[in-house]
């Protein structure tokens, strides 16, 4: 019984971090109406950025935030500006341009394999990591400290993003664009700039996720693929475009993954997650918290 509780807690913690990795995906989808297939790759890039910041400067792992977040914002901003914007302009009338999916897949392949060529396939863990293997003892239960901090960061980030979208002027402009591009443009909003900003914001949030992951997760070139597919599952579970949905979808996946192995082989839980994803897609494609779109 105690194991079940311990696994559930760990599942919730890890799940919130999954939710944080998927948050950027849902932000970008909410505004651009495009599933960014390069999302896992952006996470991978952020993880390398965080890894090298910490490894070279010797800072505390969480202080890497100060460098990684702005760097990733700029990276996302210009990635959208240079690679994705031309397609948006070409397919102005299409509600959900499928060409963008293809281009982001191209970005995924290029960045993943460039990283492989430059940094090699080895798994990297932080040197002199102060958080390595740190645990809190709670009676008979052990709770990983970096995961706990990750979960707290996840919830805090979700609230911050939500607040930003609801209360600030820029946030309102972004929401206006996501509701109706043309009407927003007529009101004097520069829609392409908003897209760049939304993409940059999504990438910056992914940077936060990467900083919380690096202290307890390996960094390697194909790490993005793991989180890519998981991210899709999470955002569809929670509802594409929904911010609380991303965190809660993440927690559901996290609990299945950590409690499941109590009852079956660990690899089967993966199949269950895929099954649940398909079930949600068949029964309620808008997800748990999603807005009903016309799919």
């Amino acid at each position: 019984m105690i194991y079940l509780i311990e696994d559930t807690i760990n599942g919730i913690l890890m799940g919130s971090i999954y939710g944080l990795t998927a948050l950027g995906l849902t932000i970008i989808f909410g505004v651009l109406k495009v599933v960014n297939f390069a999302h896992g790759t952006l996470l991978m890039v952020s993880m390398y950025a965080a890894y090298w910041t910490v490894a070279l400067s010797g800072l505390h792992p969480y202080l890497a935030l100060v460098i990684v977040v702005p760097v990733m914002y700029v990276f996302g901003y210009y990635l959208q500006d240079i690679v994705i914007k031309p397609i948006f302009k070409a397919e102005k009338d299409v509600r959900e341009p499928s060409t963008v999916i293809i281009v982001t897949t191209g970005v995924w392949y290029v960045l993943d394999n460039l990283t492989l060529m430059i940094f090699g396939p080895q798994y990297r863990t932080l040197p002199n990591n102060p958080l390595q293997g740190k645990m809190i003892e709670l009676g008979d239960m052990f709770i990983s400290v970096p995961k706990l901090w990750g979960a707290i960061t996840a919830v805090a980030t979700a609230f911050a993003v939500y607040y930003f979208f609801q209360k600030t002027r820029t946030g309102r402009a972004i929401r206006a664009c996501s509701l109706d591009r043309d009407a927003a443009s007529l009101c004097g909003i520069n829609q392409y700039k908003i897209y760049n900003m939304a993409f940059g914001l999504g990438t910056a949030v992914t940077g936060i996720a990467a900083v919380t992951l690096v202290p307890f997760y390996n960094t390697f070139p194909s790490v993005g693929v793991l989180f890519d597919i998981k991210g899709f599952i999470i955002v569809v579970l929670g509802g594409l475009g929904s911010i609380p949905g991303a965190i809660i979808g993440g927690i559901i996946v996290g609990i299945i993954e950590s409690v499941g192995p109590q009852f079956m082989t660990a690899t089967w839980t993966e199949a269950i997650v895929y099954g649940l994803f398909l079930l949600v897609l068949f029964v309620k494609p808008s997800g748990l918290f999603g807005v009903k779109y016309d799919w």
């Binding site: 690679v83 397609i87 999916i101 995924w108 394999n113 897609l281």
Partner: protein
Amino acid sequence: MTGKPMTGTGRNNAPCETDDAFLDRSALARQVVKDTISKVLLGAVLILMLALPAVISSPTWLHIIVLIFFYAYLTTSWNMVGGFAGVLPLGHAVFLGIGAYTSTVLSLQYGISPWLGMFVGGVLAVAAGMVIGLPTLKMRGAYFALATIAFSEGVRVMVENIEYLGPFKLNGPRGLQIPPLNIGWANFMFSSKVPYYYIILAMLLIILFLTWVVSRSKLGYYLTAGGEEPEAAQALGVNVSRAKVIAMALSCFFTALAGTFYAQFSLFIHPKSTISLDISFEIAFIALIGGRGSIAGPVLGALLLRPVSDLSRIYFGDILPGMHLVIYGVVLILVMIYQPRGLQEPLTRIYDRVINRMADGFIKGGYK
């Protein structure tokens, strides 16, 4: 050359564009000459293909060429649903895997010839395709793509975990090895690569012919209409979902046939090599770079991309791993930005120009 047919085959500028009733005789003659040149060229390419194994003796090169045809075939099957129907399936490797596993299990355990198992696999793949296609084909854009990815990955994880599926031995992650004992046509197993070459060539020609038939049939028009303007097509009474489902069934069936070919060609299948996302994405990439929704596109894409992949793996595999995928990605991005209809469009234009030039030459020569 203003009224170019939309299908973009490039080979068939048949005299159908008779917007003016007074078609002048020399234009007609010119059209006939152009058709003849196209046919002669096509025939020459065919003869060249048939004679190729006699010229190329190196098994490595033959292997590369077989793989080019294999991918051209796979992509052409993909194109039926991914190209004409305008959706984006990204998990087609699962049907390849179903085909490979079905025929292999049947031949290893029950001694049934892979030639028969091939079609059993095809039918099973259609069933699987319906499971995933019926609920999701109606959805737009990304949802279908995500569903196909999840389905394919889910099946892969399951196959990796299953040792015995009822009476059938799948052998989990270790996969199945086909012992090369009974070599011969009846068992779809050969010691040389030449028969494989002819088999995949025949399969490719059949699927190309079939795509040509489909693109000219009512189904093809329904698919194109439904892919470009679903609302308008539906308003005109086209049952778009039904057309998509039929296209999906065809596509699954033919992809599964390629699975059997793959199993017999490599004599070893395991979940990661057959039901892999890499294959699914590579198929989609080839189709998109070549030009989705056209007949020539997948073949052109395979011709251009597969050698890049194989040669860079041979020559740079050790120093620069993954280089071919970087090239794929860059080419894909550039093509999508500058030639959204794929490379077949500029190539078709060049081909037309060459044919025109040749027709001019012939006509002038004839009048002298």
